[in-house]
Symmetry: C2
Subunit: 158 residues, 2 copies
C-alpha cells in the first residue's frame, strides 16, 4: 500500500448571530479573507474567492514567525454545493511548495437555534506522504472556527 | 440536523496490464470517455476531460431505457492530486437536473503486482436530500471498474 491515510472529524459551534450573518462570512470575499486567510504569523501572498457552485477559492500564504518560516502553502478549494444560509459543500487540497499533501471533502451546515446559529462541520480527509495528520488538521480547523467567532463579534459591534 | 449522510467504501481490483496502461485509461480523454461515460442505455450529451492537478472533468448524460428516462445527470470532477502511474485524487459532485445530490472525495492508487496492476479505490461520499445512497453508489462504481476491465482487454487485443 501507498502511504495514504483516510480520516474524518466533526466539529460543532454555536454562534450568537443569525444563519444569514454566518453564511455571509463564508460568501463575502472580504469577510472570508479576514477570518480564513489572515492571522498573526501568516503572510498572505494571494487570496481569491468565487463563491458559487463550480467556483473556486485559492489562498497562498507563508508562515513567518521567529521560530519557523515555511515555504508557500496553498489551499485550493472547489465548491460542490451551496444552499444559501443552510449548507456549503466543498473539496480542497493543501499543498506545500507545489506538492499536495492532503485532499478533503468538507460539509458545513447552518441551523437556526433561537437567535443564534449552530454550525456543524464534517471533514473527510486523505493525507499523502509527509502530511501532519488528523490532530493538527482538527486543531487548525478549530482555530478557524474561533477566528470566525471573532469576525462575527467584530461585525456585530461595528 | 439536515438530511445529509456520510459514508465510505473501498474497492480493489486486479488488472492484467501494467500500471502505465491502467493510468492511461484514466488520463487519455478518448479512453476515459469510452469506459466511464458511454454505456448501453446512456445518452452522453457532453464529455470533457482536462486531466491535470487543478483541471476538471464534466460528463452530462441521460438514462434512456424502455423502463426509465432520466433528466440530465451531471458528473463534475476536480483533480486534486495526480502522481503518474501511482495515484489520482479527485473530488466530484453528481447532480440531477442541476441540483447536486452527492459530493465525493475519491482516491485511486495503482500498484504493480507481477505483470499486472492492483487498483484500490476509496470513496468518501456525502449524500444530500433525494440521493439513492451508498449501496447504489458502490454498485455503480463496481460497474465502472468492470467497464475499465473491458476497455483494457479491448486495447490489449487491438
Amino acid at each position: 500500500m501507498q502511504d495514504l491515510t483516510h480520516d474524518s472529524f466533526t466539529l460543532t459551534r454555536d454562534y450568537p448571530v443569525s444563519p444569514e450573518r454566518v453564511f455571509r462570512a463564508f460568501s463575502d470575499p472580504g469577510r472570508k479573507r479576514r477570518w480564513f486567510a489572515e492571522g498573526e504569523g501568516f503572510i498572505v501572498d494571494s487570496y481569491a474567492l468565487d463563491f458559487r457552485v463550480g467556483g473556486s477559492e485559492s489562498a497562498a500564504f507563508r508562515v513567518d514567525t521567529p521560530e519557523f518560516q515555511s515555504e508557500e502553502i496553498r489551499n485550493q478549494t472547489y465548491y460542490l454545493d451551496i444552499v444559501p444560509e443552510r449548507r456549503i459543500v466543498l473539496a480542497y487540497s493543501m499543498s506545500n511548495a507545489g506538492v499536495p499533501f492532503s485532499a478533503s471533502l468538507q460539509t458545513v451546515t447552518l441551523e437556526a437555534r433561537g437567535d443564534g446559529t449552530r454550525l456543524t462541520l464534517t471533514e473527510h480527509v486523505t493525507f499523502m506522504e509527509g502530511a501532519d495528520g488528523t490532530e493538527r488538521r482538527r486543531e487548525g480547523t478549530e482555530q478557524l472556527l474561533d477566528s470566525l467567532a471573532r469576525e462575527l463579534a467584530a461585525e456585530a459591534v461595528s
